[in-house]
């Protein structure tokens, strides 16, 4: 168990290779193998969680091997309170995703091989602590995603796939420039922890195009991550990709891939250039507001159920951005309010996890109805409640979780984001509460149109949600409810790491004030 983190990455890669060499007509064998691989990964993630020491905010289970010494590239892995929940979420959703994709019929082998490769890429990004490795995993995700959307997606899949690819690549190229900038200013190393240590001093006074290099790098890297989040105005790829992707891929896209953006901003922008956080926090909060309002309004206007859920992702990630911006409350000039900073940052990280479970649930449920009706037009249903009571019940639960009803985990994290951001960004927080209203409006309105009213005659024989589908949704619903009532375990898990980040941000402010 010494190289437990490597196992998490290499098991799916090996799985992908094994699946690629299985006979092409043995569809079930391929499915079971993939389930076994992701299941094993999930179990290892749980073992990791049990062994993890939550009281220690720094990196644990570190692995370090030389790789390309001439460029100071190493293979460095580590996990802390920020990445551990994400690894768990990845393990869980990829395991569930296999069952969601059980009814994929076309080129099953290719699908699951790419699926496992995607899995490896995602876990790799969360675990790697060397920028080169990080970047490789970041890009490794793109190719499987391109094929998964482009080959198994909806009618506009080709356009959606290449748009997703181009957008993300554009962001990652800018990120690469930022990374190279850090590489040179911080003594030619790709080691993230080393750069974290050196960057604040090394970047001090360095100019790029007559501007502070740190700010330029901050923005370059931020754009790379913002496209993934997605932050307005870089969000236009998302609704398209979501709608065209097969259900399982939408689940993963919303559940995990979007989190990579937030994770990256906290890990890289906050961890390496905390000083510039102050400079950009206002903008970040404002972008959060735009995300909340814009996403909400767009969701309200949708007639396609899946598109509605996609826009709700934009809306929800806005809260996360708002919470992240709240970190600056810790700065001396903002009154050194550590409590608010803690609430905001933990809220943002918690929101990321909650949105992962809730949106996964929503996409699975949309997939269930699409599977039966072959369309997702909100106005095309009506009265499904009488036909599919169980499905209605569980969808109601998911929608309530999505709109942030107290008792569900989404409420806790959204409230934390607001509480954290309130002292510093009062107006923005007040304005963004409109988002909650929109949030409730689009979910409830859609729910009403789909499930209430007179039963649409076309669907009077609609099948109830089946066991396999329930099996994929129920665990997520349980988690959502559990954390809604008792968020303690999650917050304890991340607390030490959050404190460390906040401390750093706070320290930089006092340092700058001197």
């Amino acid at each position: 168990m010494e190289n437990i983190l490597s196992l998490l990455i290499w098991i799916p890669i090996l799985g992908a290779i094994v699946v690629a060499f299985l006979p092409r007509d043995k569809d079930n064998l391929i499915r079971y193998t993939s389930a076994a691989v992701t299941g094993l990964q999930f179990v290892i993630a749980i073992v990791l969680w049990r062994k993890f020491d939550p009281s220690d905010g720094s990196m644990q289970f570190m692995e370090r091997y030389e790789w390309i010494p001439s460029l100071n590239i190493s293979y460095i892995l580590g996990v802390d309170g920020l990445s551990l929940p994400m690894v768990l979420l990845t393990g869980m959703l990829f395991f569930i995703g296999v069952f969601v994709s059980w009814n994929i019929k076309k080129a099953v082998k290719g699908y699951f091989s790419l699926y496992l490769l995607l899995d490896a890429g995602v876990v790799g990004v969360f675990l790697s602590l060397d920028f080169f490795l990080f970047y490789i995993f970041w890009e490794v995700m793109l190719l499987p995603m391109y094929f998964l959307i482009g080959m198994w997606g909806g009618p506009q899949r080709e356009y959606a796939a290449i748009k997703f690819f181009l957008y993300t690549l554009f962001g990652s190229v800018l990120m690469l420039i930022g990374i190279l900038g850090l590489y040179f200013t911080c003594g030619k190393t790709f080691d993230i922890l080393l750069i974290m240590e050196r960057a604040p001093e090394a970047l001090n006074g360095v100019l790029w195009w007559g501007m502070s290099a740190a700010k330029v790098i901050w923005v370059l890297v931020f754009i790379g991550f913002a496209i993934k989040v997605p932050v307005f105005p870089f969000h236009t790829w998302l609704p398209l990709a979501h709608v065209e992707a097969p259900t399982a891929i939408s689940v993963l896209l919303a559940g995990i891939l979007l989190k990579l953006g937030v994770y990256g901003i906290i890990r890289v922008n906050y961890g390496i250039m905390p000083n510039e956080v102050y400079w950009f926090a206002g903008g970040l909060a404002f972008l959060g507001l735009v995300n909340v309002i814009w996403g909400g309004l767009c969701a309200l206007a949708q007639t396609d159920l899946k598109k509605l859920v996609a826009y709700s992702s934009i809306n929800h990630m806005g809260y996360s951005l708002l919470g992240m911006a709240a970190v600056v409350a810790a700065g001396a000039m903002n009154g050194g309010d550590l409590k608010a900073a803690q609430a905001g940052l933990s809220g943002a990280v918690f929101q990321m996890f909650n949105h992962g479970t809730i949106s996964a649930m929503l996409f699975i449920l949309v997939g269930v109805v699409y599977e039966r009706a072959h369309h997702r037009d909100i106005d095309g249903f009506g009265g499904l409640a009488s036909q599919m009571p169980v499905y209605t019940g569980i969808t109601a639960l998911a929608f309530f979780a999505g709109l942030g009803l107290p008792g569900f985990s989404g409420f806790v994290s959204e409230a934390m984001c607001f509480i954290g951001a309130f002292p510093v960004f009062r107006t923005i927080v007040i304005l963004s509460t409109i988002g909650i209203l929109l949030n409730a409006a689009y979910f409830l309105w859609a729910f009403q149109r789909v499930f209430f009213g007179k039963l649409n005659e076309k669907y009077k024989d609609m099948e109830e949600i089946n066991g396999l589908e329930l099996f994929t949704v129920i665990p997520l619903a349980v988690i959502t409810l559990f954390f809604g009532i008792y968020p303690g375990p999650y917050l304890d898990l991340i607390k030490a790491t959050m404190d460390q980040i906040i401390e750093k941000v706070a320290f930089v402010a006092t340092y700058a004030a001197l």
């Binding site: 790789w67 001439s70 690549l169």
Partner: protein
């Protein structure tokens, strides 16, 4: 070193000459259907040449034939790159159906002579030698481009190539003669010496000479605005020759440019030092703009192509642009990045061309339509092509990314005045993704799916493996390459 003493260090070229003669003579005795044998003769000869180049790479850098050419690790590296690409192209020529109608004896022999010219290009330090070597390469390329004599497009390619080639080498010759007029010598080091002590009065002549010489160089590496021949020649030539032209002469061309700028007009400090600096023109910016325009033009026009071969022609212009990005810096690090890029480019670009050849053998065409649904029909070929496209785009974990990483690294490290080049290069990679993945799209996403799965024949498969493995592995572990390049980063310089 005198002529007789030099011979001992000229063994690779001597062996090559013998090989060329052997190829020529063997051709007299074999039937038309057996002319692949000449390829064997040349191939075996080249392997021996490669070994002797390798043997000589450890001797201290020195000049041969009374300062005509040099032998140094840099030229050895380039020679090995050239030999590698030639060997791959020879093997591909065996299985290229386009050539079936013709005797291949002259084809292989001419290729051998071209290698000779390329060798001299990488190592000449005298402008006469430089000119002769360029001409040897050019004339052989003209013949090879027009080798399909029954095909009008091949003839057109050859003719266009001749006209452009003659014109640009004439312009370059004029430039070189001005340099001779200024310096009174044809030797690089003597010229460097004289030019660096010139006062400003000679500037107009110097600028003119520089521009004219760059026209010749730009033609060789197909840099904008001297690129117009490239698409037509690349499209019309036999595919194997297209593949060859996009790799080997480009490598030699870059070697020549680097050596020339390094040792005639400036030195390792970059394009602001010595003679080139005294002209008061912003040369780094000028070359930078040319590089950016080259890759942008290549990429934008590549998007609109319907033939994959022509698309690859424009993409090779774009790749010349990426490599040119490092020229404004011209530090040792910049040269290193160009060398790494070139080495990787050989594999990924040849690989892509080999697949085009293979598909043309099968379907008789090289347009996007001929690739439709190919990924399902020939899964192995589809997977390899995807890998090459990924690598040409420069996505990790493929080798193409490492090449770009080195170029970008050089530019970021050289200071913030070169940052705009990195941004331009990055944006261009994104643009290139669009058309490279258009290939992947038609292979996998479009077209009718048919499950009659075919696999490539063993020679073709071997070629694909041989290009695909480095295209992937060098992206994951390129330590050996990096250290080899580092060791080869030694130029012969005159001891003052």
């Amino acid at each position: 070193m005198t002529n007789l003493q030099s011979l001992e260090f000229f063994i690779p070229e001597l062996i090559l000459t013998i090989t060329i003669l052997a190829a020529l003579i063997t051709d007299l005795f074999v039937k038309k259907s057996k002319t692949n044998m000449i390829g064997w003769v040349l191939g075996v000869g080249l392997v021996v040449v490669g070994l002797s180049v390798h043997n000589l790479s450890s001797v201290p850098p020195t000049t041969l034939f009374l300062d005509m050419i040099v032998i140094d690790p840099f030229s050895s590296f380039m020679k090995i790159v050239i030999i590698l690409s030639t060997l791959l192209v020879i093997v591909a020529s065996w299985v290229n159906d386009e050539l079936e109608k013709y005797r291949k004896g002259e084809y292989f022999t001419i290729m051998g002579i071209m290698v000779m010219g390329l060798f001299l290009m990488t190592s000449s330090v005298d402008i006469i030698m430089l000119y002769i070597s360029i001409e040897v390469v050019s004339i052989m390329s003209f013949v090879l481009a027009a080798y399909l004599k029954l095909d009008t497009r091949s003839n057109e390619a050859g003719l266009k190539y001749v006209i452009y080639g003659a014109f640009s080498s004439g312009v370059m010759l004029f430039g070189l003669s001005i340099v001779y007029g200024l310096a009174g010598s044809t030797n690089y080091f003597a010229i460097q010496d004289t030019l660096s002590s010139l006062d400003g009065s000679a500037n107009p002549a110097l600028i003119m000479a520089l521009l004219m010489i760059f026209a010749g160089f730009g033609y060789k590496i197909s840099s904008v605005p001297f690129h117009f021949w490239t698409p037509d020649v690349y499209e019309g030539s036999p595919s194997t020759i297209t593949a060859y032209l996009s790799v080997a002469p480009k490598a030699a061309g870059f070697a020549m440019i680097i050596r020339f700028f390094h040792q005639v007009f400036s030195d390792s400090i970059g394009l602001t030092s010595n003679a080139i600096g005294s002209t008061d023109l912003p040369w780094p910016e000028i070359i930078g703009v040319l590089a950016v325009v080259t890759m942008t033009m290549g990429n934008l026009v590549a998007i609109q192509q319907k033939s994959i071969k022509r698309m690859l022609a424009y993409s090779s212009i774009a790749h010349a642009g990426y490599m040119m990005l490092a020229l404004p810096v011209l530090s040792m690090e910049a040269v290193e990045s160009v060398m790494i890029y070139l080495f990787i480019y050989v594999f990924m670009n040849l690989g892509a061309f080999f697949i085009v050849i293979f598909v043309k053998n099968k379907t008789g065409g090289e347009s996007f339509e001929d690739f439709e649904g190919l990924g399902w029909k020939m899964p192995i070929v589809g997977a390899f092509m995807t890998l090459f496209m990924l690598s040409l785009t420069g996505l990790p974990p493929t080798a193409g990314f490492v090449g770009k990483l080195y170029i970008f690294k050089t530019l970021v490290g050289a200071g913030s005045e070169f940052l705009w080049l990195v941004v331009a290069g990055g944006v261009n990679s994104v643009i290139s993704l669009y058309y490279y993945f258009h290939v992947v799209k038609v292979m996998f996403l479009g077209g009718k799916r048919s499950d009659v799965i075919t696999y490539p024949p063993s020679t073709m498969f071997g070629l694909m493996i041989f290009t695909a493995v480095p295209s992937l592995l060098l992206g994951l572990y390129w330590n050996p390459l990096a250290s080899w390049v580092k060791d080869s980063l030694v130029f012969y310089t005159q001891v003052m």
